[in-house]
Symmetry: C2
Subunit: 494 residues, 2 copies
Amino acid sequence: MPSAYQQLTDVFTRLAHLDHASTYLTWDQMVMMPEQGIERRSQTLAELAALRHAQLSNDALGDWFDEAQATATGDTVASVREMRRQWDLSRVLPAELVKQQIMAGAKCEHAWRTQREHNDWDGFLVNFREVVALAREEARIRQSAAPDQFDTPYDALLDLHCAGDTSELISEVFTALKAVLPDMISTLSQRETTGAFNDNDHYPIEAQKALSEALMAQLGFDFSAGRLDVSVHPFSTGGRGDARITTRYRDNEFMDALLATAHETGHASYESGLPADWALLPVGGSRNMSIHESQSLLFEKQLLLAKPFLAFLTQLIHQHLPDSRQYDADTLWRHATVVKPSFVRVEADEVTYPLHVILRYEIESALINGDMEPDAIPTVWDEKMQQYLGLSTGNNHKLGCLQDIHWTDGAFGYFPSYTLGAVNAAQLFHAMTEQHTDWEQRFADGDTSFVRAWLSEHIWQRGSFLSSQELMVQATGETTNAQHLINHLRARYL
Amino acid sequence: MPSAYQQLTDVFTRLAHLDHASTYLTWDQMVMMPEQGIERRSQTLAELAALRHAQLSNDALGDWFDEAQATATGDTVASVREMRRQWDLSRVLPAELVKQQIMAGAKCEHAWRTQREHNDWDGFLVNFREVVALAREEARIRQSAAPDQFDTPYDALLDLHCAGDTSELISEVFTALKAVLPDMISTLSQRETTGAFNDNDHYPIEAQKALSEALMAQLGFDFSAGRLDVSVHPFSTGGRGDARITTRYRDNEFMDALLATAHETGHASYESGLPADWALLPVGGSRNMSIHESQSLLFEKQLLLAKPFLAFLTQLIHQHLPDSRQYDADTLWRHATVVKPSFVRVEADEVTYPLHVILRYEIESALINGDMEPDAIPTVWDEKMQQYLGLSTGNNHKLGCLQDIHWTDGAFGYFPSYTLGAVNAAQLFHAMTEQHTDWEQRFADGDTSFVRAWLSEHIWQRGSFLSSQELMVQATGETTNAQHLINHLRARYL
């Protein structure tokens, strides 16, 4: 008779195989699938999700968890804990609510694609009220199920994306950033910007692809265990043995593609570097989105834009794109570090980006905790944009509260991970460079192996054995601390 | 309470979704996946196969089948019949035998990859004896389960690939071909061959890809519902809404890639043209491999190599590959229709190919029916090669009985479909051109729409409602008849 723990790992191993299927079928849908494939693909992904849910939410696992928790020792303790977390999360919501959410979210997101184009806030609001009402209900149920764990309903949604990062911690981090960034931005945005690139520059896409692959190789990416493709929005999926990342190319500009490539290589390196022995179990998975985003931003903002590394990269660029030789490393660095307040989060630089996130965090936490109604969003959005970035959205909702997809299907609690990730990235990079004082020389030589080794030891190999904040404390000596991002931005920009 | 038929279609719809997942994950494995992805991918495909088997082989379906068979009318009769066929096929073998076959097949195939290189028949024989013993056991059990249906054990294996085409029919067809082809070949192989292409020809792969896509468009392929990629061995998978085909390119020769593209477009057109209303159920699937291969060979051999169409295609070739203008349509046609006996089936021309298949059919049917032992294969192979093609294999097993993968994992009963497909293709093409007497003019204009319309009506839209031979009778007035292939070959080559 197999042990309770063995029974559980058998179930979760089967779930890992179903997840593998969904992961690569979704990649295929985003990158390869012809348009008419969507109907059958959607049906199949729904079937796999239903199979997953049926296997995971099984009541029978309860006895196995009780027995496994009573007998677990060593690494198994965390393994049982993370399996149980998945089981609990899958069972807490009534099936009827989940179904209503899927339908309301799909309806709202579908209509949003048109409403955004037409700046139609009133039309959006009709669907969005339902999405918010259901998310509030979800948050209430999740908080009630674990009142000791969650101080507010919003904390219960945060737990789905930023598990371990509470609204108390986030508010502290964000308050520190708000105290510094607006002034820093008004100083920086008065500087004259001298970017590279002209409209008649032309960099062949095939050569840009080879350049991106050369950068990935320099960052330690193993092409026998992954690939690079093109998609409308760059993303990363898969992991150990088969990491798939995408970027996008523009004919007359090559820096954006390289930054996106470095960013996604960071995500992929994390997934590929997770502990092989635990690959099929939850405890072997990535910790949360704040940690995930710290890996991508560390590769993109800390590593690639470190002046010594960019100087090395500039040589690679000049080799692959002969026409780029008109731009030296300094010019490319200045181009990639222009600071300028703008309306759109995804186009924001690293100094203004946190304020876009803080604005969304303040609105979504108030929405979920019942301190604000959806109707008030445009006014509050405009006020905060003026206050934080000195820009008025007015009634241009397309560049304001209708710009993001996240809220349309109810993904509240995700936005903070972008800025927690930026803080964590600066904090981890600081700790790493304190231990590797020759980092600038190494970067100048294109050597990134010590970065991978350090991250592997302190983050990747730890999977989900520790909480996100335990992970940060063990790696850096402290919990997520805004001062590290502030120091980084001051050092780079002031 | 849903009807028994509804319960059954619910089960088979879920199976169709699992099949969709396996289909595109396998395509990804063949075309996109990096090498280190294989372990997790294999585990996932095994898990999906196990889920499929568990859902299909369920005893509980028996009562539903009994009730559905008693109440079915119209199209539903065939639908229930084809679902039941799947259910029966999935249940007839003991699980232990299936497991032994998978292990013995995997072991034999894995070792074969090296043994073939080393011409190691004796080493191969050790594993292969086990594969044959298990296949004989499978055939015996399948025949015992349906003694009225199968005259011989081998017929029960034929049923897995060429359902509806009995060994009696096959022997009749093959006897007719054997009576004619050896003489035809000895006449043709005395002719001087004047192929196109020189070693220093150079046709850029990107341009060849655009040419293949132009050919596919000319053959009616819809790129909003499918795509073309590259793989080591060309293949076709997927279907309606998302057909995936592959070809392969050589730098100094473009005809092979075009022929492979046409071949796979034929397979894909069949799968994409199956009845949409029955897409998720077995009766909406393709009939058998003899019919499938008839569609690919009709596109490749009958259509593309028809002189008027090749003349049209030559214009396309000249447009896409300016360096090809040194070769006119006649030269390309002669290049693609060289007849020459050779050792390797997959490289054989359409005149010698059937004899490669007949040789394998005679050996594998004798093996399975217990009329021959595996030890005798090399001797019999050599004798038949001399008799049919005038070539002696001697002890060169690499170019003889070790050349194919099929037998290594026990796929007996598949080979006949290649030549039944060639006969069916000639027979269908004959029937179609009798109705469309202006076919040569249409081909000269690049018009293939009437071919698709005719095949859609007579083959594609019929799914698995009819047996393979009923299908041939309704489309052409007779069962599979070797004379049509003989007439085609005489007309083209003599």
